[in-house]
Symmetry: C2
Subunit: 325 residues, 2 copies
């Protein structure tokens, strides 16, 4: 691969000048620019980003740690993050933590060693101290780690409220919520809290079930739904913590001969694109994923530029009615 020196030699100038042309610094005659650009063309020269990063102490890389890219929600989020990062001249280093404590820690070390400019965390199994120690621009999803670490999330409480209210309005009297593990500080647990608040407020019976781990295990969802229908056959309204869970709920209803929405109504959460291939289309609470992804990137960039940013970034959700309510 040709270096800046090769270009300099070919153009008959010094490496410094080539660097100036490259970065548009200082005063450069058009003729000189042209000469240098031509030499670059001829050599098919690309500046070595590793050397640039080292010299500038800035890699223009953002690290992304999420449980699994293969999950629709994270896949879509990743897509948006990558899109905006690229637009801003940043690259994305992808890390699947599998929601595993050790992997998460190793990835953090690795990203620090790679001198990424910031980390977007969609996976959180570690203690607060582990996050503070890394001393890097950071943004998290759906988790408030400490007052000084910015987080982005959808309006989980409002979403839970919208979903539950809809079920009640449509005549459901025996409500159920199925969600992930209510780990401390996981903001998505607010969906569950809103659900319970609404149910109580209307004096309705309700049950809440949740997976006992963070592994996003599909089989666990199936089991949970089996348990729900076995123990609470009277349930006629389900608020699922994600569209995936809602899809399993739909399947479970059909398996057991419960008609949807006549006998049981279902509302999901997220608004993943793949819901369009479900039949009937599920009613859901849509998160503004693109905005979330863009904001996460922007919050990193602002920190990189030395600005301090607010901690809470709660984005509005939207009820999208399908045919399961």
């Amino acid at each position: 691969m040709p270096t800046i020196k090769d270009v300099a030699l070919k153009a008959g100038v010094s490496a410094t000048t080539v660097s100036r042309v490259l970065n548009n610094r200082g005063y450069l005659s058009e003729e000189l620019k042209h000469k240098v650009h031509q030499a670059m063309e001829e050599l098919n020269y690309r500046p070595n980003e590793l050397a640039r990063s080292l010299s500038r102490s800035k890699s223009n890389i953002i690290g992304l740690i999420i449980p699994h890219v293969s999950l629709p929600f994270f896949g879509e989020l990743t897509s948006h993050i990558e899109e905006h990062a690229y637009r801003e001249g940043y690259k994305l280093l992808l890390c699947n933590s599998w929601q595993d404590k050790q992997k998460e820690q190793e990835y953090i070390h690795m990203l620090r060693a790679s001198r990424v400019d910031g980390i977007i965390m969609g996976s959180h199994t570690l203690e607060v101290e582990a996050y503070r120690q890394m001393n890097l621009p950071l943004v998290t999803f759906d988790r408030q780690i400490s007052p000084d670490i910015p987080y982005v999330c959808s309006d989980n409480y409002e979403g839970g409220k919208l979903a539950t209210t809809l079920l009640i309005q449509k005549g459901c009297r025996h409500l159920a919520h199925i969600g992930g593990h209510p780990k401390l500080n996981i903001l998505s647990h607010l969906r569950c809290v809103a659900f319970e608040d609404m149910a109580k407020q209307h004096n309705l019976e309700y049950v809440t079930l949740h997976t006992d781990n963070n592994s996003f295990d599909f089989e666990a969802y199936e089991q949970l739904l089996g348990q729900l229908f076995a123990e609470h056959p009277e349930v006629d309204g389900i608020f699922a913590g994600s569209d995936i869970i809602a899809a399993y709920a739909l399947k479970a209803c059909r398996t057991r001969g419960r008609r949807v929405p006549e006998d049981v109504k279902i509302v999901g959460y997220d608004g993943i694109m793949l819901r369009s291939l479900l039949d009937p289309p599920i009613t859901t609470i849509r998160q503004p994923m693109e905005a979330i992804g863009k904001l996460a990137v922007d919050l990193i960039l602002q920190q990189v530029q030395g600005h301090s940013v607010a901690a809470a970034h709660i984005l509005p959700v939207e009820l999208e009615e399908g045919a399961t309510t």
Copy 2:
């Protein structure tokens, strides 16, 4: 951030010695090792990978270019690739090309500039020349670019054969295939070829439809299915080019009152995990995604090590019967 010099100073040795400890080169007394390690601990030192990469002319980064991570197939593949790359000490730089020619080209430039050690391409809109020019270890999916560029794919022909044969065995007499655009050299088109071969061999009527672009447009699938049922109401067996398309076929059947599998039978392709939330579970041709991901990474690593690798890597598929046949 502390540098190797800080560690050297603290441990009372030279930077060279620290580097030796870091890389386990040469003869080092246990005592010395211990001393250095301790200094590293105390300073929370992490070697700067940028500097290492520059010095060694090796970044330990693999670039991955795919159309969309948010599509289940690519999401799962990405997950496996990341997993194996990480295990081998490599990082993954993610690029969503949106199947866009210009983005793809820009990403290739960007990855070259970043001095990635190799590129895994799951997106291909460019001409052969563009690939040759990059002069980097390369592996592609489902596309034979030129005889010297290794590719990995599932046994597309065999998969198409299995799917079609099953439909025929189950009594289908009017077959249809819906797949992506049959662009030159796209190996997945072999699924379609096998379909046609089998249909002809059994003297059965058949139609093949395909999207007219590469955009993986969900709406296009819906339209295509509408067209299929409008123009060919007699169709009783559908071989879909992907599980996503199969899901839309299922939905289209239900919308039109066609019972599955009684009136129409459906077979998909890929074997994405999310098919488990479809109801009924679709019959599909499962690609060994994990093996594909691992092989792609290994083929890059072998090239990095200077070994030449075979061009064709065709992995076996498996018929997995669900309830749509």
